[in-house]
């Protein structure tokens, strides 16, 4: 079994947590960038290397990443960290915009900047970022979230072209409503009746972390060697209508 080195943003909840557990089963070496290092220690003990950064404060991210002691170069970057919210346009304050863009977009951009260096990543690496179906469709109350996720898709396309000379693949995954803490919080804001209506909009039902995690694993593997610069939608058919 070939073990690989992965740099993962997030990983203590939802899709990221499921992914980390899967990668650990295959004895891969993982470096996790997390907001709450105590929670991560409880989850993983010494199984992973941990770096504590609050991505809301993206200005210190590069400085922190540059301090990582690289024993062997990374084979993949997975960005599962993110923030989701629903509020009207009139509530889109400067403070909220900065927060959403820092966590969803700017920190990923900086992570890409770090990872793109030859001394940091191996050729033929794979980069996967979690975008959202809200990056391709609109919804009332989702202006800030949608905009921050749409930015990721553009970044992925340009980065894929730039890194293609090193055969590094860069792809985004856009899940529909997935039953994670984040997804459940979104459902809690709805009445039972509205939840039922939304469920009917998903021909294959709501998603589970493992469905998305499996797609990430595929994109990390050599089976996806000819896929780059894409935004892969995984939503149980929500957006095909």
């Amino acid at each position: 079994m070939i073990t690989k080195n992965y740099l993962i943003f997030g990983g203590t909840s939802g899709i990221g947590l499921f992914l980390v557990k899967e990668l650990l089963k295959s004895k891969n070496n993982l470096t996790l960038v997390v907001r709450n290092i105590d929670k991560a220690k409880l989850l993983f003990n010494d199984e992973v290397k941990l770096i504590e950064v609050d991505l809301e404060n993206s200005s210190i991210l590069l400085e922190t990443l540059n301090k990582i002691n690289i024993n062997s170069k990374f084979d993949g970057l997975i960005y599962t960290a993110g923030i989701e919210g629903t509020f009207p346009l009139k509530s889109a304050s400067h403070e909220k915009l900065i927060k959403y863009y820092n966590i969803n977009t700017i920190s990923f951009h900086l992570a890409l900047s770090f990872f793109s260096k030859k001394k940091i990543s191996n050729d033929s690496s794979s980069i996967v970022v979690i975008s959202s179906i809200m990056s391709t469709i609109g919804a009332s109350g989702k202006s800030v979230y949608s905009a921050s996720k749409s930015s990721i898709n553009g970044l992925v396309r340009s980065a894929a072209l730039e890194l293609s000379s090193r055969k590094i693949r860069v792809n985004a995954i856009s899940p529909g409503l997935t039953l994670t803490e984040m997804g459940n919080a979104l459902l809690d804001r709805m009445s039972n009746n509205d939840q039922d209506k939304l469920l009917k909009e998903y021909p294959l039902g709501f998603g589970k972390s493992e469905y998305v995690s499996d797609l990430i694993l595929f994109l990390l593997s050599e089976k996806s060697i000819w896929i780059t610069g894409q935004n892969l939608i995984i939503d149980g058919g929500y957006t095909i209508k």
Partner: protein
């Protein structure tokens, strides 16, 4: 904030024009402005101002602001 001030803040947040003011007996779901975004706004309002989470289903089950304040234990004391 007392209940009157809270109702005034909600009046502003929901940009109510269909009635002159809100009171504890107002049936919020009967307001012309009431829609799915109103639910989101109210949930956000209580989270920001009272650090309390009210679910969409709770808003669906209750009818008046008085019921809602009672549920959230908001009173003038």
């Amino acid at each position: 904030m007392n209940t009157k001030e809270i109702l005034n803040s909600i009046f502003e947040e929901l940009e109510i024009e269909s009635v002159k003011e809100l009171d504890l007996e107002t049936v919020y779901k009967d307001l012309d402005e009431w829609d799915s975004m109103s639910v989101i706004i109210l949930i956000g309002f209580f989270e920001e101002n009272f650090s309390t989470t009210v679910s969409g289903e709770t808003l669906n089950e209750l009818t008046t602001f008085g019921d809602l304040f009672l549920k959230l234990k908001i009173d003038d004391n």
